[in-house]
Symmetry: C2
Subunit: 412 residues, 2 copies
């Protein structure tokens, strides 16, 4: 039962909502300082997780995600200091007016209250999520993976100690027991006690939370992103964009997973891009018209076009028109980031108007769809849903609003 | 199965997203014209619903909600014309910047796509919801009550005919069969095919949708609203506000349902307000300290304080401090609209900061919390949730956003 944790989170949230920016920024710096001071304690806990992980036969990729080092921990602490430098979203007047009868109306940003985060292996998420939620005035309930439970516990202990030392409620940051499988379910059913739930992780985690949660959910991060190379594309730019979007960092949600090429430029473009992709170690899963240009292309199934590889693989197809590209993206895309490469203003306009996604890019790599790149400073994930927040979720997206109406005895 | 309706709605939504404001406003006027021309047809259908309702023994209040007249229908048509006069939210640039490397970033309002509305008896909701969704570029699936099925069918036929005559997709407005109980469940499970679901109606309808829906829901309209009369209140203003908030229109969600009086002014305020409420036909359900002031006050149970009466009833309690009022509201309130009457700036500041609701009012009646009163022109309901929209939901709240990123071959 996480009843006690929920009660403590609400009490902390009530106190957090009234803190000034000065208080919150000082606490973020105090958390960062404490992380530096207690590096050895955190790394020892992480070493224990890594040892269990090796015993349990975790893959090298997972072990790498889990691993902390002095340098990584310094980066995590620096991220907290950067959050301290961002504007406080709480108290921002979103709109305001004086109504006909003289009533004064203001719509003001306020914290959500209690935010739940369900996530997988990386321990840096623990600190990032705690820092962002705290800066936005929210108490956070963290439910990490059991693989990282000792690392997460050490990190949260440090953050809570820093809060307590600053005279602030330590319960602003709570870690739920990753050994208790029921805690995820309880979190999902705590409507009214948890204000919003953010699952961060793979498609199956997100699907299960979306299916079962009665708490409002913000869906993040599944990206089956396309690059469509139009008939009028600058083919050198197109090649650079495809390579960057696929190969610069294939494991992230804004990496490209599918290439669509207009039939008019297929002969000119495909030989060059296929050999460049091959040289970069990328396996291309192509339809027949793509395979006609290279024996190295493996046949694409229906499933390939629906797959977020997160690896050095890409699906590819030739399409006969921009319309066909838009229809393909509507069928297979996940609504994350979709790019067109074109020199035609009309084609760019049509693509950006018709493609329904969090971000639509013209002549730019999908890799730019990121809170840091967008200048938001830090993000808690990339929302692929249409409600509340769509695209990179930064501090303002971690708040709600409230109308404040001031009169002098006004009645209707 | 509503599969065909869902497919047609998506196709219509894709077309609607590309319409100009001129097209949409002309269509809204055409719908209004057609409603006037075909008044007799709609009233005949309504008469049939009323006859069935009388046979089924519906209450007079329900029959009144269901009833249309030439005058009511003219009002419904006029509401469509007013929507035509409101700014188009679609295409609004919410924010924009040029990033360090020269990429241009714009966040633009776009329609949700397909909106589902589940609602109860009033046929005016059919036209209001259809008009607002249409203006915001959304296709709408309407699931009304079986009590109003003939009226709703006649209204939707008229709207669809007007759309078709204007060369626009009639499937922008579809009515689901109210006789088919499964259609509500299918609507709630159509994640990805319905972009947002808005239940409008009583607490039990809203609770069931929130529980069972995998489609994102915007919760509307349950209002257990309080008036807190502080120690420093102007007691004449307080009395006027209490009477207005309770008795001006008791059946709506922004009517007051509970009165809290600071102990310091209980002796001065309660006798006068209790007799005024009694004169207005209001039954007061009070705690012991309220009952000490009048024999007409009936005892309040725990449940009374949690009840949204929607009638000439009000619960009442004496509290010892502003803090006690805030705690009471946090326990029993529904997060809709909460008012304080006070002459103390400090008390107003503390109340507005600490009370967690869509709207917090100082020295004004809760009845002002309304899209029309706020100057938004029209609303589809009052959201009491913290995600996406909180408070009156007007046209901008019926949209999502999309980032449009424009480069010149940019890569990371």
């Amino acid at each position: 039962m996480i009843d006690a944790e929920l009660r403590r989170a609400r009490a902390a949230a009530n106190a957090l909502a009234l803190l000034t920016r000065t208080d919150k920024d000082a606490a973020l710096h105090a958390m960062a300082d404490e992380l530096r001071v207690r590096t050895a304690e955190v790394l020892a806990a992480n070493e224990a997780d890594l040892a269990s992980g090796r015993e349990a036969g975790l893959s090298e990729a997972l072990l790498d995600r889990l691993a902390l080092s002095e340098q990584r921990l310094a980066g995590i602490a620096d991220a907290l200091r950067q959050m301290a430098g961002l504007p406080d979203p709480v108290g921002e007047v979103v709109r305001g007016s004086t109504l006909a009868g003289g009533l004064r109306l203001r719509q003001v940003r306020v914290p959500f209250g209690v935010v739940g985060i369900i996530y997988e292996a990386r321990p840096n998420v623990t600190v990032d999520a705690a820092g962002l939620c705290f800066k936005a005035g929210n108490a956070v309930l963290l439910r990490g993976s059991s693989t990282a439970m000792r690392s997460n516990a050490a990190l949260v202990t440090v953050l809570r100690d820093a809060l307590a030392a600053a005279g602030l409620p330590a319960d602003a940051v709570q870690l739920l027991d990753a050994g208790n499988r029921d805690s995820v379910k309880e979190l999902m059913r705590a409507r009214g006690r948890v204000d919003v739930l953010i699952p961060r992780g793979g498609a199956s985690l997100i699907r299960s939370v979306v299916q079962d949660s009665t708490v409002p959910v913000i869906e993040t991060g599944v990206g089956n992103c396309h690059i469509y190379v139009d008939a009028t594309a600058d083919l050198a730019a197109a090649e650079a964009i495809v390579l960057n979007a696929k190969a610069q960092r294939p494991s992230v949600c804004n990496a490209a997973e599918s290439l669509l090429v207009h039939a008019d430029v297929a002969d000119a473009f495909l030989p060059q891009v296929l050999s460049a992709l091959s040289a970069a170690g990328v396996t291309v899963h192509g339809d027949e018209r793509v395979r006609a240009h290279s024996d190295a292309v493996v046949p694409a199934t229906e499933e390939d076009f629906a797959t977020e590889y997160l690896s050095l693989d890409i699906s590819a197809a030739v399409v006969d028109s921009l319309d066909a590209a838009v229809v393909h993206i509507a069928s297979y895309g996940s609504g994350h980031s979709e790019a067109i490469v074109t020199d035609s203003a009309a084609a760019a306009r049509e693509f950006t108007a018709r493609v329904d996604a969090a971000a639509v890019l013209v002549n730019a790599s999908t890799r730019f769809v990121d809170g840091g790149e967008f200048g938001f400073g830090a993000e808690i994930g990339i929302s692929t849903q249409k409600l509340h927040a769509r695209g990179p979720m930064a501090l303002p997206e971690l708040t709600s609003t409230k109308y404040v109406v001031t009169g002098a005895g006004h009645t209707r």
